[in-house]
Symmetry: D2
Subunit: 312 residues, 4 copies
């Protein structure tokens, strides 16, 4: 498709999902106050070309969409084997009233749920909590193509509601999986989740993963190819909460959602994709964003398991 | 049975279980260093008469055996209905790597597991954490018939290993079940568990529950009859961890064990019973103590569901 | 209480619960067509004295209320140890869409859920399925004081909906716990559940258990005292489905409900109690019957854990 | 790689895994008696070119490796939406002592576990059980390129041990998910599992899925492209039992194992792969086969999420 056609397609795509008004923003004040009319989509290919539509420059906290890159960073810093000794890669529920580690391994099920994300955060090299956050901020900034900053309100609101994450951090500490102080890790993780990004920047982060760790456009390598493949694998099976199988069969794009209303994905060797709309379904996933992803996958043939006949 | 016959029976009972050398003391240093030859049993009837054998004056931390009285105290302070809004009464597992609240109610399953015991502790009237502990210490002292003191080593060791309890406290806080600061509650609970008692004193605590809240001998009422019946009910179904049904059918005495090696029980209207021996089975229950309880129940006909034909 | 006072009390009790019109009969046609105005209560003491009020002679299928006596019969026929090798005694859920045996033992959790009841049925001595049912029919008849007959409609309707029980029977067979053909056991179990009883007869069955296996009035022993104590223990902790702890703490009477609308209980050494009203709550327990049991326990002081002070 | 190089590579691959002698054949006699020295690998590309090494013509029962194509056939016959109303697509355990349907939907978790495979089997068009099996036999024969026959011993042995599958079939029937008689479905499913194939034939079945439903070489379409994509998605997330995430991250090839010792996979647009070796690990997966798949994925770059930089 020529570039202008892609832009037109994305504009049409937004209009086709705008009618969906189910769901509500997350009740954290910084999200609850968001304008629910905001709507955006962006695609960045592995060559760095950018297409977008809607409010694609609007900034919002990255929240759980920071988990994939931080998992990749932990792999870079301590090696995949060491990371796997701390966090498993199995899809699994993680209901709010239940905190569960694998009964045999005592490990968090995967790095896309909070327990595993806290451990992945703690494995990023310090030496201390401040350095850890700086490394995470720096990686996201390089991928996004701009010096990212923390949303102070979001951070403070997260800290006021940190009990569940602190429960998780104390539990993994009790089981010898956490190499640092639970409250320091909880604080750093709240900072990580409060980094502000735009929809275009999220798509660029996805495109970097799609390109094996090389930032599209600049050509700068920020993650090793092996680490990126691991990140994409975990995003595919564990990125979309309770419906891993449904997502894989119907969309087939490694992706991660956040409670701010964003979703970003990465199609290996092709492009990064991101959407933004604050209304969430019961799983905390953007209602319009999820539908947009389903259509994008189908319309552009992005499913990673699309079978193909040999080319004549 | 005449009094001297009971003493002879208890002495024989200890000899009959002494041969069991399975199990090991808990690995908390204060327990790990315990003399595994220590062995004791005591019975106190609802009139205050005392029988004992073995090392029945040896002191050890009360640990989880403090849970029943603290649950009763919470009922006294805020009422049964309010307590039931914070802690359920259903038997349930609580494995070390899994922290689970009831999926529908978001409440801890019962006050005999740590999550529920932390909440029960927090419901005791303050106004602050220090007062709360004093009330708990005072109640146990009145039941035991002596001013009980805290084992400082036990307290400090518990605090060093508090991560799992802190995880539980943060989780119940996150679910709005905990009315105080998680770390204050964790600290107070560690103090509660470190109160030192003897086997005879534990039996006296049991006898107070058996007598409906009146201390045998002194006649002082320390808990209401309704609160005591609730405590006994929860002890019967939830007091012995993973084998509630097995305990009810084979022993049939409301009881609670602690990782220090004690077990205490209460036979309504008849007597309190306690045993002490530091070697624990995989569930954290004293191996010799459990067997002694089984034999006591059978030999003295203490099963609360013993069917009876009409007299004469 | 003099006898006429008990009758007056029971009459008042029925009036006090008649206002409750929540719930609905079970959707098996034989139950769905029941007259929801039917209401009855009966008490039979261990001497054989009978008090009743309401429609206490109305007949209905015994359904799950046959489980306790059949469990007792299996213990008589093969011994408690052998029964425990086939069915555990732990309280546990058994949701309709989940068939679960204990993960370590591969045994049904207890004989009050269908999986365990099917196994208990299969352990009753044959030599064949027909004999097995005759033994069960005979035991219930002797306890009830009348030759009980099967409700043919109930049996046929149960057989039409037998898939879940057949699933359970095949599963326990697959795990080597079932000593007979799954379909034969399923058929016999449907017959067992279709035996017709009245409220007074159910109370007499309860009184026999309360008297340790001796039929009140006739003095005939039909079960050993040890078997009866085991039956009462399992009824107390596993008889009332999902709320074992709630039932023990609030009612404290070993009891069993059935989807026909009956509940029967046994207070060791004192009496059997039964109620009947077809409207069920979400757990399949009679709404009016459950409330009647709560009041009976409180008003007559029947809680088995009622603590007592020494008699001056 | 030139064709002769691929053959040499496969020969070396077999030698590199032959040293692994962990595991044991399945205890079904037809498998238990298998020669554990048998070892084979085959690759068939989407153009129909075949490479193999070892005992690639040896025949063995297809067992669970029939599940993917039968799922595809059910989609062809009743449509994907109808199939999804009967079987979900979520990865999930299915332990031998636990039969669990999704608590909200009452559906089997996915068509790769037995509960879901029985339902998928039952959705294949009849009109009766015999026709159903013929359709399944015919589809596999067309994909394999040879008229496949049933191993009569395997079928009879499966029928003798059918209790667990019958339990599943009765349970899904009880929940209205099964449109036919549980015992007919159990019988047909045992026939389906007893079809005999060679390693080369399995690879051809995989290549047909990789080519979107067109048999490589003959060009005959046997399944629609949409059905094939669904089959591949479910194989990727649910095909390898308890370690879905591990398989996706480390191998990244949609695949299915069977207790006869085979594993087959499909790399969309590229090739089908199969291995055979009778020794199984604790999950019932061929030990040598699994290692061979891991090496093939790495050596030939077959991971479906392999990120790629843009081609210069």
């Amino acid at each position: 498709m020529p570039a202008q056609d892609v832009t037109a397609y994305l504009t049409q795509l937004l209009e086709s999902v705008r009618g969906l008004d189910r769901g509500a923003p997350h009740d954290l004040p910084v999200h609850a106050d968001a304008d629910t009319d905001l709507l955006a989509v962006a695609v960045v290919d592995v060559d760095g070309q950018v297409w977008s539509a809607g409010d694609a420059e609007h900034l919002f906290p990255i929240q759980s969409m920071s988990k994939p890159a931080v998992y990749g960073l932990a792999i870079e810093h301590v090696g995949l084997d060491e990371v796997l000794r701390h966090v498993d890669v199995e899809p699994s529920g993680d209901a709010f009233n239940r905190i569960s580690l694998d009964p045999e391994s005592n490990l968090p099920d995967n790095p896309m749920i909070n327990a595993g994300a806290l451990v992945a955060h703690s494995l990023v090299h310090g030496p201390d909590a401040g350095d850890r956050f700086e490394r995470i901020q720096e990686l996201h900034s390089r991928m996004a193509g701009r010096e990212l900053a923390m949303d102070q309100d979001c951070y403070e609101q997260e800290m006021e509601r940190a009990d569940r994450n602190l429960a998780l951090a104390h539990l993994v500490k009790a089981l010898s999986v956490l190499p640092d102080d639970p409250h320091d890790v909880g604080d750093g993780y709240s900072r990580q989740c409060s980094l502000e990004v735009s929809t275009v920047e999220l798509a660029r982060i996805g495109a970097t993963l799609a390109a094996g760790g090389v930032v599209p456009g600049t050509g700068e390598r920020v993650l090793a190819r092996e680490a990126t493949q691991q990140v994409l694998s975990v995003m595919l099976t564990c990125g979309m909460y309770d419906s891993a199988g449904d997502w894989v069969s119907q969309v087939g794009i490694p992706a991660k959602s956040g409670i701010s209303g964003g979703i970003f994905g990465a199609v290996p060797g092709r492009c990064g994709i991101a959407t933004y709309s604050p209304r969430l379904d019961a799983h905390g996933t953007s209602v319009r964003g999820e539908l947009a992803f389903r259509r994008l996958s189908l319309d552009l043939g992005l499913h990673v398991l699309r079978p193909r006949r040999p080319q004549g």
